[in-house]
Each structure stands twice: as structure tokens, then as C-alpha cells.
């Protein structure tokens, strides 16, 4: 068989093979059972003592959210000022400048929310200090925040009736010390053995074979690249992200990085099954999510291997597939696979430039972010999927004409209202943001701004529209990947995307936690003959149907104007 396809298949199989035992381990960590990393206990006790945290003190859903939001606000303030003054601070061997206030705002928001949208270039826009002490730090704790919120949901589902969703600070701490840090150390060491830099030296310079003087950006990148994937963050050390040959040196590291980004979202599903002792429920969801992923991956890989029809018309060979924006060492199959994985997972790192993907692949990438729940980001992926579940429970209840239950708790008007609002919110942010951008471009394209809107787009026609749609979609989904031709570093896009990111992060976390908090407080209703079987394949298919319908109804019009129109114009 073709070595490129076998590489993709092996990558996926290895992911599942690693995610299953990791899920078992994660369930043990959060239920306080013995694990092999118990030697971390003294470190954790020290952290609790310094911070004045009582790890066994439970929180109800409101306290939990308050603790989460307070620390996130603190991180924002810290990150904003660090970016703003980075040029004047130490650990800046390349002499990179301060960020402007609007760029600081956008970057701070982007990293506290696990988004990692970057309106700067890694080589020139940040310093080693901000790369490590702001970005790497936030890549750990923003991932841990998402996971902590999911564990709160686990706790709500596990107990028959409870107010206690766990202690946010305790979960945040053990997520970092027991899960993220140990795995990251392994990944980072493997990366550095394959050629990713890890030393603190600044730029190097040499004279190449043809006599050109070349400057080379380096830096302590390996550690950041490990957590960037494991924590589904996605922000690159270098501008070209994981297409950069130092950030992703060979096919092995490519497999490592793409496995790392799916690992935790997938293993959290298995962990759910072990933790609440409903393995079948988790397995069915895993099946549905995998089906969703395949629906997006297969057309993308086929299209990319097939090559660009416009270039085929020029009469050259398409044996290596569509290669614009791609690296030879990965090829079109692994690049196509990565582009879907990174968009369904909310990582947003890239090993090829999505802006240069074929029109159909661009459509699939956007669909991945619009659904945002096939595996999904660290923790938040399942929270998003949970909203679809609640809608499916509600519709099922309407069909049989009784108040539906989910795992022994009645789902009533309040919960359904919250779920509906969260669903509508995404459509509102994406289409609202896109409308503002299009209106501004159309009516103020030559406005007297520091950066004129007429300079925003790198592509003409339908693809130019896709660049803007991709940006707001990526911001709302907290994804961070881009059709990077869009010039985003100006006040308009820094502000618009920053606001979309904030709304797209916190409301879809607050909603599900509120639902689970409200439900968990209710009286437990034991299973009866009329109970909706949420771990059946029928209910899984029902949820899949809900996802299809909501996505199609919400986003079909803008998708037609962008990638679908481009596809049709190329295949006339």
C-alpha cells in the first residue's frame, strides 16, 4: 500500500492504542486512586500549602466557576502587561520589540483561552521571556482549566445527588503535575533528539553554499512545542508553526505531534467511561466522534492527493499531490489528516498552510471548527458535545411526550434553555463577526486607518471571503489556526477576534457547568422502562443527527459563499 496512507492509518491506530490506557490512568488520578506518579504527592502538598488551598474542600457549580474565572482574569492581566513591555524585559537575545496594546490584548486573550491565534510572528514578535513565562505557562494552565471543567462535569454525573463538583484548584494542580507535565517531558525530549532546538541561544548566522548570508532563529522551543500539542493549544514557536523544519523536523515528529494533540481529548472520553462507570456510554460517543472525523478526513486526503486541478491544467505532474503550502517530508496525506485533526480538536497548529488547501479541504476544516465537538479541545470538546446531547435528549423527550431524563436527572426547561442559548451563541458570533467584517471591507475599504481594510485579504474572490470566515470561525471555536493570508495585526481584527475568542471560550464552559450543577442537585430518578437509553447506538445516532442539522442550518449560507462557491468555480 501507499506509504503515505499507511502512515496516516498507523498514526490513528497508535493514538487510540495510547489513549485507552491513558484514559484509565486519568480516571484513577481524579478518583484519588493509587497511580505510578504518587511520588508527586509531596510537591502537590507544597503547592497547596503555598497557595492556601484546602484540596478536599468541595465547590458547588457557582463557586467552581468563580474560582475558574478569577484565576483566568488574573492570567489575562499578567499576560497583557508582559506582552506590552516584553522588549524592555530580560531574555530577549534577538532584541524583539514590545507589542502594541491591541496586539497585547489579542495575544493575552488568545493564550488564556487555549486558542493560540497569533497575530504576530514567532521569530520577531515575542521574546524568549514571553514565549516561556507567558505562552508556555498559559499553554499548560489553559489546558488544565478545560480539563478541570470537564472533571467538574464528571463529578456531577458520578453522584446520584450532589452539590459538590470538586475543588477547582486541586483539579488544576493535579492535571498539571500528574498528566500534562510528565507526558510533555517525554514528548519534548523526543523532539529535541530529532533536531528541535532547546537551548537559550539567540539567532545564529552563517554563509550558505551559494554565498548568501543566512540568519537562523532558534531558542528553547522543544518544551513549548510539546505542550502546544498535548494541551491542544496550537500556537507555534516559529511563524510557520509545525510546518517549520525545526518545529517539526521529520515524519516521526510529525506523527508524535499529531498523536499528542488527539491524545488527551480522546483519553478523556475513555476516562469518562471509567470514572462514572458507564463504559458503553463513552464507547458509543467515541464511535460517533470517530465517524464524524472520518467524514471530514477522507474527502480531504483524497482531494489533497489528487492535486490542484488548475495546476493540472498547466500540464505538470500531480504525482506528489497539491504541494502549495506543504512540506515534502509530510506529503499531502499526512498534511490533509493533520489539517482535519487540528480543526476538530481545537489545537490549531498546522503542518501545512490551510489557506493553500484545496477548496473542499478548506470546507472540511471549517466544518471541523463549526462542530467543535468531534473529540474537541482539552476538556471543552466534551463540554461542547454535551450541549448537543442535551438538545438530543430534549428532542427525544418531545417525541415520546414526557420529561426526559439524563443519567437519572430530569432535564427541564432551564437546562434546555441554557443549551439552546449556547448553540445559538456560536452562530451569532460567527455570522455577526463575519457580517461586521464584510460590511467594513465593503464600505470603508479605504478608510483613513493605520491599516486600510483594502489590505486585509491575500486572495481575491470567494477565497478572500473564506479567509475572513475562517478567522471568525477559528476565534469562536478557540482553535487558533488561520487562513493566514489575512492580515490580522491591526486594531479591527485584534479587537474583533479577541472579543469573539472571549465569548467563544467562557460562555460554552459556563453553560454546561451550570446545566450539570442544576441537574446534579435534583432528586435521583431510578431507571425505568420509559427511561431514555443514552448509551444506546440509537441515541448516539440521534446526537449525530442533531449535530448535522444544527451545523447545516446555522452555517450553510456563508459556507456556500466561500469554499463551496470556490469549489464549484474550479470544477466547472
Amino acid at each position: 500500500m501507499n506509504t503515505e496512507l499507511s502512515g496516516v492509518i498507523l498514526t490513528f491506530l497508535l493514538t487510540v492504542l495510547l489513549a485507552y490506557p491513558l484514559g484509565m490512568y486519568i480516571a484513577k488520578v481524579f478518583s484519588g486512586e493509587r497511580t505510578i506518579l504518587d511520588f508527586m504527592k509531596p510537591v502537590e502538598r507544597l503547592i497547596y500549602r503555598i497557595s492556601g488551598v484546602n484540596p478536599s474542600e468541595g465547590m458547588d457549580w457557582k463557586q467552581f466557576l468563580k474560582a475558574m474565572l478569577t484565576i483566568n482574569l488574573l492570567w489575562f492581566v499578567y499576560a497583557f502587561f508582559m506582552f506590552l513591555f516584553q522588549g524592555h524585559l530580560p531574555l530577549n537575545p534577538d532584541g524583539n520589540p514590545d507589542m502594541t496594546p491591541d496586539l497585547s490584548f489579542n495575544s493575552a486573550v488568545s493564550f488564556i483561552t487555549n486558542t493560540n491565534w497569533q497575530n504576530y510572528s514567532g521569530e520577531t514578535g515575542v521574546t524568549y521571556l514571553t514565549q516561556l513565562f507567558v505562552i508556555t505557562f498559559l499553554q499548560f494552565v489553559s489546558a488544565a482549566t478545560g480539563i478541570a471543567c470537564l472533571v467538574a462535569m464528571f463529578n456531577g454525573l458520578k453522584h446520584k445527588t450532589t452539590n459538590n463538583l470538586g475543588n477547582f484548584w486541586q483539579i488544576l494542580t493535579v492535571t498539571t503535575t500528574r498528566i500534562l507535565l510528565p507526558i510533555c517531558i517525554v514528548i519534548a525530549v523526543l523532539l529535541s533528539f530529532n533536531g528541535t532546538p532547546a537551548s537559550y541561544d539567540g539567532k545564529d548566522a552563517f554563509i550558505g553554499l551559494q554565498g548568501d548570508t543566512v540568519q537562523v532563529s532558534r531558542g528553547p522551543a522543544a518544551g513549548m512545542i510539546a505542550i502546544k500539542h498535548l494541551g491542544t493549544n496550537g500556537g507555534g514557536w516559529y511563524n510557520a508553526n509545525s510546518a517549520h523544519p525545526l518545529e517539526n523536523p521529520n515524519y516521526f515528529t510529525n506523527m508524535l505531534e499529531v498523536i499528542a494533540q488527539v491524545l488527551i481529548p480522546m483519553s478523556l472520553l475513555f476516562a469518562l467511561g471509567f470514572y462514572i462507570k458507564r463504559r458503553k456510554f463513552a464507547n458509543v460517543i467515541f464511535g460517533i466522534m470517530t465517524l464524524g472525523m472520518l467524514c471530514l478526513v477522507i474527502p480531504t486526503i483524497i482531494t489533497e492527493i489528487h492535486g490542484n486541478p488548475e495546476i493540472a491544467r498547466m500540464g505538470i505532474s500531480q504525482a506528489t499531490g497539491a504541494m502549495e503550502g506543504k512540506e515534502v517530508r509530510f506529503g499531502p496525506a499526512a498534511s490533509g489528516y493533520w489539517s482535519i485533526v487540528t480543526t476538530i480538536i481545537s489545537t490549531g497548529s498546522v503542518n501545512s498552510m490551510h489557506d493553500s488547501s484545496m477548496a473542499l479541504s478548506g470546507l472540511m476544516q471549517m466544518l471541523g471548527m463549526l462542530v467543535n465537538g468531534f473529540y474537541g479541545g482539552c476538556g471543552v470538546g466534551f463540554l461542547n458535545y454535551f450541549i448537543y446531547i442535551i438538545i438530543a435528549v430534549f428532542i427525544s423527550g418531545l417525541m415520546v411526550g414526557r420529561t426526559p431524563e439524563f443519567m437519572g436527572h430530569k432535564v427541564e426547561a432551564r437546562e434546555v434553555k441554557i443549551a439552546a442559548l449556547v448553540t445559538l451563541l456560536s452562530a451569532f458570533i460567527i455570522k455577526g463577526g463575519l457580517a461586521i467584517a464584510c460590511y467594513t471591507l465593503l464600505h470603508y475599504s479605504n478608510a483613513d486607518w493605520a491599516f486600510k481594510p483594502s489590505g486585509w485579504l491575500n486572495n481575491s474572490g470567494f477565497h478572500g471571503f473564506s479567509e475572513m470566515m475562517y478567522a471568525v470561525t477559528s476565534a469562536n471555536a478557540n482553535n487558533g489556526s488561520a487562513f493566514a493570508g489575512l492580515t490580522g495585526n491591526n486594531i479591527f481584527w485584534n479587537a474583533l477576534l479577541g472579543i469573539a475568542i472571549i465569548l467563544g471560550r467562557y460562555l460554552p464552559i459556563i453553560g454546561p457547568i451550570a446545566i450539570i450543577g442544576l441537574m446534579a442537585k435534583k432528586k435521583y430518578v431510578p431507571d425505568s422502562a420509559g427511561t431514555l437509553k443514552v448509551d444506546s447506538i440509537t441515541f448516539g445516532a440521534m446526537t449525530f443527527g442533531v449535530i448535522l442539522i444544527i451545523t447545516a442550518l446555522s452555517y450553510f449560507p456563508p459556507l456556500v459563499l466561500g469554499p463551496i462557491a470556490e469549489y464549484l468555480s474550479m470544477h466547472h
Binding site: 505557562f137 499548560f140 516559529y238 523544519p245 521529520n250 505532474s317 515534502v328 493566514a484
Partner: protein
Amino acid sequence: MKKHLLPSLMLTIVFVVICGGLYPLLISGISKFVPGSGKGETLMVNGKVVGYANEGQKFTLDKYFWSRPSAVGYNAAGSGGSNKGPSDSAYLKQVQANIDTFMVHNPTVKKEDIPADLVTASGSGLDPDISVQGALIQVNRIAKERKLAPEQMLALVNAHVEKPLLGMFGPEKVNVLKLNIVLDELKK
């Protein structure tokens, strides 16, 4: 809020130190033992660094194997791709121009043998590799330029083909810089 502020502040400080300080230091320390000691692996000619093994550089002279087009001119301190969509007319003109240039410098090559990677820009602008086909179709030009036998050149390219991972996973490729360094040594 007030009750939450102090633990939040202290936890933040602790994790900034652990994740931003200690963790990268640990990785940096371990990387002292890898090739290139964590600074990136370099290639030397006559005791001088001529490039990074993993990073492509610009090759446009007829006597060298050409690298792929780069949207950033192989600037290793400012990576990036063209970010051009597949149907953009200005972009398609650029590709056509790349094909024409290649044909002019390689008159013996048939157009349908040119692989797409040789006329399209990579994602990083620093792609160190070209496809095997991309190297093979340059053999005649270089053999003529350097007055070497094409058979000798073919053998050289074949010796530098990097096989897929474990022979089974991923594409085959040729590292342009490594090949060109050997090419220069051949002349002596």
C-alpha cells in the same frame, strides 16, 4: 471573589515558575546530549558551518540541485508560506512562471515530468527537501554544467534518497543541502 483572589495569585506564581522556568530548563539541560546540543544540527564544509541540516536554503545556480520555491526567500529568521488559495489568478500566473523558468534551464525535461513540489512554495518557506522525481529531472542540467557523467549523478541522487520511516510510513525525499554538499566534494 476576594476569597478566590489569593489562592489564584499564589497558584499562578507557582505554575509560572514550574511551567515557564523549571520545565524548559530541564529540557534544555537534557538537550545538551543530543546532536547539535539543542542548538540545531549544523552541516560543515572545511570546518565552516554552511547550513542547518533540517533547514532548506536557497539554491538557484545551475550547478546545484534547486530547492523548492519559497515565499520568504529562505529567510530562516522569518518563516512562512505564500498563503495563496488554489484558484487565485495572480498565484496561478506565478506557478506558470516557475514552470517556464524551469523549462528554460532544463531544456531536456518534458513538462509532464515536472512534479508539483518543484514549482510550488512550501508551507515554511524553509523546506529542506524535494521529491525524488524533483531531483532526478535536474540530473541532466547539473551533469552538463559540471561536466560529469549523468550515470554518476543518477547514482549520487539514488544514494541520497531518504526512505520512508521504517521503509513503510510517509513519503520518500531528498535533502537538497546534503546532496549539494556532496556534489561540491565530487568535483575535487
